[in-house]
Amino acid sequence: MGHDTVEWVFVAIVIAILVYVGVDSWIVQKAVEEIPADAETIKVTGQQWFWSFEHEDGTQEKIELHLIKGHAYKFEIYAKDVMHSFNIPDYVVFEDAVPGHVNHAWFSPDQAGKFPIQCREYCGIGHYQMRGTLVVEENKS
C-alpha cells in the first residue's frame, strides 16, 4: 500500500469509531430526555449556598429532599442569585440552575436510601458546602 492509502485507512477507522459514538449518544440522549407524562413536578431553587425544594402539593423542604421509590419526578430548576448546578451524582441528575431561566431534568429513584446532592457550578465562598441529601423512601401504599 502507498503512503496515502495507509493514512486514509487510518482516518476511515477513526471516522467509523466517531460515527458509532455519535449515533449511540444520539439514541441514548433521546431516550434520557423523554420525560414520562405521570412525572411529579418538584421545584428546585438554588441560592448561595443551599438548595430548597417545593413539592406539587405545596410542601417545602430545605437541604433534604424526601422522595418515594419507583415514582418518576421532574425537576424545575431555578436560581435566585448566581449560576448553580443541581446534581445528584448517583442518579446522574445534572442540570444548571441559571438565573432568569427554568431548566428541567427528571429521574425515577429505584433504590431506597440516602444520596448526596451537590452544586457542580462554582458559585462563591460556600460552593464547596452547598450540599444536600436525597432521602428515597419505600412506597408504603
Binding site: N87, P89, C119, R120
Partner: protein
Amino acid sequence: MVLELRKPRPVWQIMFSTHHTDVALLYTITGVAFLFMAGVLALMIRTHLFFPGQGVLIPDPATFNRIFTVHGLTMLFLFALPFAAGIGNYLVPIMVRYKDMAYPKLNAVAFWMNPVGGALLWLGFSDTSWVSYAPYSVIRAPGPAADMMIFGLKILGISSILSSINFVVTILKCKHPDLPLRQVPLFAWSILTVSLMTLVAMPTYAASLIMLLTDRLGVSGFFNPSIGGDPIAYLHLFWFTFHPEVYIFLLPAIGMMYELIPRFSRKPLFSQASGVFAFVMLGLIGFASWGHHMYSTGMDFTTKVVFMIGTLAAVPASGMHVFNFLATMWGGRIRFAAPMKFAVGGIALFFSAGAGGVLNSAMPLDFITHGTYWVVGHMHLFLTGTIAFGFVAMMYYMFPFITGRMYSEKLANIHFIGMMWGTVQVFFTQHLLGLEGMARRIYDYPAEYTSWVQLNQIATVGAWILGGSFVFFLANLIYSAAKGKEANMDDPFGLGGKYYYPYQAKNPTHHTGY
C-alpha cells in the same frame, strides 16, 4: 543569531531590543517564570486537598478560590500563550527567510504588555474562577480584584491580537518569494493557523470583557438577569473564544513536535501536505464546537447534537497529526535525546487526552463528567501532557543554540521520568475522581467519602512528583547555562551532518527541507 546569552551585553540591551531573537528570549523567560509561579499555586491546592476538613495550608475558602483562579489564568495567558509566541518569534522569521518580524516595534510592544497584564492579575488575585461566569462575576465577585482581572485580561488579549497580526504579516507577506507557502515548515504553519484563529476568536472575548466591566459598574445589564440580561449570552461569547483557544494553545506544541520528530528519527517527515491539511482543518473546525461546554445549561436536544457533531469532527484531523508522527518515526534511526523523549511522551498523552475528549463530547456521558474532576483531569492532560511536554521538549532542543552549552542529559532524564509519572498519576486519577462525582473548584470535601480521600491523596502525591521534577529542570537550566559542557554547534545532538537546524541559517538562500 545563536548564542544569544553568550555575547557579553548588559541585560537592558536585551530588554529594549526589538530584534526577534531578543523578544523571543524575553517571551520564553517570562513564560517559564510564570510557569513556576502558577505551579507553586497548583501544589498548594493539591497539598490542601490531601487533608480533608483540616484547612491545611489554605485557611479559608475565599483564598482557595483566588488561588485556583490565578493558577488557571497564569498558566493559560502568561505561560502557554507567551511561550508559544516566544518560540514563534525565534523560528518564524528564520523559517520564512526574513531578517526579522514584519513589525519589530509592535512585536516588542506586544511583549511588554504581558508583564503589565500579569501584574494586574497577580496584584488583584481575583476569585471569579478563570471562566468568570456571569452573574457571579457581575454581582458577587469582590472588587477591585475582579476589575483588575478584567483590565489585565484585556491587555493580554490585545497583546495576543497584536502578535498574531505580526505573525500573519510576517508569514504571508515577508516570506521569501522563492519559498512557496506549502513548503513553509510546519511549525510556522501552526503559528499561522493559531494567529488567524486568534484574530477571529479573541475580539469576541474582548467585547465580553467590556460588557462584564460595564455590568460591574452598573451602567449596563448585558449579563445581569435582574435588569433583563442573560447569563447564557456570556457563556456563548466566552466559549466562542475559548474553545478555539484550546487549539491556539495546542497547535504550536504540535508544530514544535513536527520540528523535533523528523530530526531525531533521522528520517524525512512522512507527509508535509497532511500536516498542513490537519492544521487548516483544526483551525476551521475549532470554531464549530464551543457549545459542548454548555450542554447542561438548558440547551435543547438539536443544538446539543449539532455541537456534538462539531466536536467529533475535530478528532480525525488530530488523529492525522498523531499518524504523521508515528509514520515518521516508523523505521527511523531514533535518537532518544531529551527533546525526543518529551515529544514522544507528549504524543502518547495527547492520544489519551483525545480519547477522553471523545467521551466528553458524547452527550449522555457529558452529564456524568461535566463540572467534575474528570474535566479537570482531561484538560490538564492536554495542557500538561501535550502542551507543556511539547514546550519542554523545545526548550531542551533550543538550549544549546541559545547558550552554546549542553544541558545535563542525566538531570533531563530525571525530569522526564518525574514529569511523565507525575502527569499520569495526577491527571488519570482526577478522571476517576470525576466518575466518583467530585465537583471541581471545591475548597473541602467530607472526610467520610473514603474513595474521594484516597483518590485525592494519590493525585496529590503525583502532583508532588510532577512539581519535584521541575526542580531538576530549573537546576539543569541554570547550572548548564553557566557551567555546562560546550556544545558542538554544528550538531549538538549528534544526529549526523546532513540534518539541517534552522538556527544555523545565516543567509537567506538556504534550503528549508531536510
